[in-house]
């Protein structure tokens, strides 16, 4: 497209032919009101606020909407001629008389010199700008919204005014809506995409966390509208450096390694399954991880301990053993909760005036300096109650003065049932194995115990190695442990791996299959039996050969050799026959 010269308010500017007038005007720094213009959607020209007076090439005088008027050579534009100013004012005033007093209209009214419409304010909260419809249609691609009815009765709605099946709950409509007319509701098990995820990304594109390396934004395809519908691409349009490429996909890379350290960690137990604690239902019942995020300077509150309404809590209960040491969930102790619970108490005391209650089954302050820390917490005036918190409920009217929530427990030392009023409840949820740990274990040849953690070769003699040579374990994936233990185990695993690598050679088990070349006839029936591709065919000798370094001595080929040419060096046929004979005699 060619660049053409046009005059805007007497000033000559160059603009691209055929592009729209409004961006050109805005670029000059001239403010033009608009209600329905959105850079990334097709101009709609419905609000008519951006009207300007123009003289075209043939000197024909017209009033046009700047948002969709194509620029052509010789155009003269007046952005604030009395004629268009008057029209804008009347139009806005008429819209005001339809709508309730809302910031977007009030602000624009102020700029145009209208405080109060002559006809009085109306009640509608929708200004019918159509942004939501276009965004849903063009950007999201869900086409869940549209207009119904005609003329003054027109309104934005979903198909047949019902729940829109095509809606993906992305919330784009609600976020683009200038008046908060659109609300999102979760229904049919569909989740709002922009739901606040405490530890995850808050939007489809974000820097994962402040300390992330590399410290650049990345797209979460699960939330990104483009990956869900093929629409949007707004980010690539705004990126000045052209850095966003949607076709860059996750890919699997194969790396050849000699040793592997598995340090896949754990996942938090989902406390929503523990109904009595009301997580997800009762506000201000949060998990330890969420509290940790809250305390983080890079977290959602910038390190401030606060309730959902922003107020400082008057009292906080920290409930230990949520899902741990619990036959219904995990019988094991998660090991870390006691100490971080105490740390939380300390943080609360340091940052707020709140009362803190620790509700525990047993306090396991087993490590170096731990007991001392416990004593310090006690001296800080933390209420430590021996008794598991059993239920969290909303406080009745009377108790709400002390706290919005009530924690119920049995104080086993005092032998009384207690209801403790608090404002916030922190659930010390159990550490549990990743739900896909089994899958991971299978990949690396590591077994999984009944509790879901990876099994080490030997609890005492081989705590970091596994049944598979060269694969080592470190951290919580092997079982709950705190940071010092994890660091220690990690070091051990790394050392084991290193020692294998430094040696540069691998000591093999004597157990191995061998092929008697004299007897092998080269039928190649065994070649494909080996999962480790340890058997190859020697074309020259026309016999199959076992690579002893690869052979794991499972014996499958021994069983499968029809000529009896393959022998296992252990669990030999004669041994087994003898065993059979022996046990049956």
């Amino acid at each position: 497209m060619a660049t053409v010269k046009i005059r805007i308010d007497g000033q000559q500017v160059e603009a691209e032919e055929g592009s729209f007038l409004l961006p050109a005007i805005q670029e000059m720094g001239v403010e033009i009101p608009t209600l329905c213009y959105y850079k990334y959607a097709t101009p709609y020209a419905a609000c008519r606020m951006c009207v300007v007076e123009i003289w075209d090439k043939r000197k024909k005088n017209k009033v046009v909407t700047a948002c969709n008027y194509p620029i052509a050579e010789g155009l003269e534009v007046l952005t604030h001629s009395p004629r268009v100013v008057a029209a804008r004012r009347t139009n806005l005033e008429m819209l005001m008389s339809r709508c309730a007093p809302m910031p977007v209209l009030q602000e624009m009214g102020k700029k145009l010199g209208i405080e109060e419409p002559r006809w009085g304010w109306g009640t509608d909260t929708c200004i019918l700008c159509g942004l939501c419809v276009r965004v849903c249609d063009e950007i999201v691609g869900a086409r869940a919204l549209g207009f119904a009815s005609r003329g003054a009765d027109r309104y934005v709605t979903t198909a047949f005014d019902g729940e829109a099946d095509s809606c993906i709950l992305c919330g784009a409509c609600a976020s683009i809506c200038p008046t908060e007319h659109i609300q999102l509701e979760e229904a049919d098990g569909r989740k709002i995409i922009h739901d606040e995820v405490t530890l995850g990304p808050n939007s489809a594109i974000s820097v994962p966390f402040r300390q992330a390396v590399p410290n650049v934004p990345r797209i979460d395809p699960e939330y990104c509208i483009h990956f869900r519908t093929g629409g949007c691409t707004v980010c690539s349009q705004v990126c000045p450096k052209d850095c966003i490429h949607y076709d860059e996909q996750e890919k699997t890379e194969e790396i050849e390694v000699g040793t592997i350290v598995l340090a896949t960690g754990f996942q938090d137990l989902d406390p929503e399954i523990l109904k009595p604690y009301g997580y997800g239902k009762i506000p201000n019942v949060i998990t330890a991880m969420e509290f940790e995020r809250m305390n983080n300077a890079a977290g959602s509150t910038g390190g401030k301990i606060q309730l959902q309404n922003g107020a400082e809590p008057r009292s906080i209960a920290i409930l230990h053993c949520i899902g741990s040491r619990d036959e219904r969930h995990h019988p094991y102790c998660s090991r870390v909760c006691c100490m971080y619970g105490l740390k939380f108490a300390h943080l609360v005391k340091e940052k707020t005036e709140a009362e803190v209650y620790q509700l525990y089954i047993d306090l396991r302050a087993f490590g170096k300096g731990y007991e001392e820390f416990y004593q310090r917490i006690l001296s800080e005036g933390v209420n430590v109650i021996r008794g598991k918190g059993t239920e969290v409920v909303r406080a009745g009217r009377g108790r709400a003065e002390e706290g919005d929530l009530l924690v119920r427990c049995e104080d086993t030392l005092a032998g009384v049932f207690r209801e403790i009023p608090v404002d916030m409840v922190i659930l010390c949820t159990a550490l549990e194995a990743h739900s896909d740990a089994k899958e991971t274990g299978r990949k690396f040849g590591v077994s999984i115990g009944a509790d879901g953690w990876f099994i080490e070769r030997h609890p005492k003699l081989g705590p970091v190695s596994t049944a598979t040579d060269g694969v080592f374990l470190a951290g919580v994936c092997q079982g709950p442990k705190d940071i010092p233990d994890t660091v220690a185990q990690g070091g051990a695993a790394a050392a084991e791996a290193m020692s294998l690598m430094i040696r540069g050679e691998v000591e093999m088990d004597a157990a191995c299959a061998v092929i008697d070349e004299e007897k092998c006839c080269g039928c190649r029936l065994c070649n494909d039996l080996c999962a480790y591709s340890a058997i190859t065919f020697d074309e020259e000798k026309e016999v199959s050969v076992v690579n002893e370094a690869l052979c794991k001595a499972c014996g499958t080929c021994v069983a499968g050799c029809p000529s009896g040419s393959i022998k296992g060096l252990h669990f030999t046929d004669p041994q087994i026959y003898a065993e059979i004979e022996g046990i049956l005699s």
Partner: protein, 150 residues
């Protein structure tokens, strides 16, 4: 005296044998009928072993391996899984109830499943009765008797 079946079990070292071990250390009650033979992998179980066991007086043979996909050696149990139907088919053609040969998957942590499988198999063989395949040549014995008589 009631019939006590003699059962031979081929147990994979990594899953079933460990599972059996666990069943033992867990003090689970397991019928004493099963005589376990450890193999490194269920893939090592040669049909000849099964036939040998049956011919040497076993009333049933139980092969236990890791669950499909869980094999310590990746695929050994799949090989076992492919061989067993042929073996059973052979056995059946020879006039032996194929139920006497059985393949099950028991993992290292499934002590109770091990208990369950063994108990159930024992009961099944008990109901099938003794196999009595042990070598005894009636023809030859009769002929020898006749020759002596002559």
């Amino acid at each position: 005296m009631s019939f006590e079946p003699k059962l031979v079990g081929f147990l994979c070292n990594w899953c079933s044998y460990t599972g059996a071990d666990l069943a033992g250390t867990s003090r689970l009650k397991i019928p004493p009928n099963l005589r376990a033979i450890r193999v490194m992998c269920s893939g090592r179980v040669d049909p000849s072993f099964i036939l040998t066991a049956l011919s040497k007086g076993a009333d049933g043979v139980l092969v236990l391996g890791c669950h499909p996909g869980d094999c310590h050696y990746s695929e050994g149990n799949y090989n076992c899984q492919r061989r067993l139907p042929i073996t059973k088919s052979l056995v059946e053609q020879m006039g032996i109830d194929p139920r006497r040969v059985r393949l099950e998957w028991v993992s290292a942590s499934e002590a109770s499943l091990f208990q369950e499988v063994v108990s159930e198999f024992t009961e099944q063989i008990r109901s099938l009765g003794p196999l009595e395949l042990k070598e005894f040549d009636f023809d030859r014995a009769a002929a020898d008797a006749q020759l002596v008589h002559e």
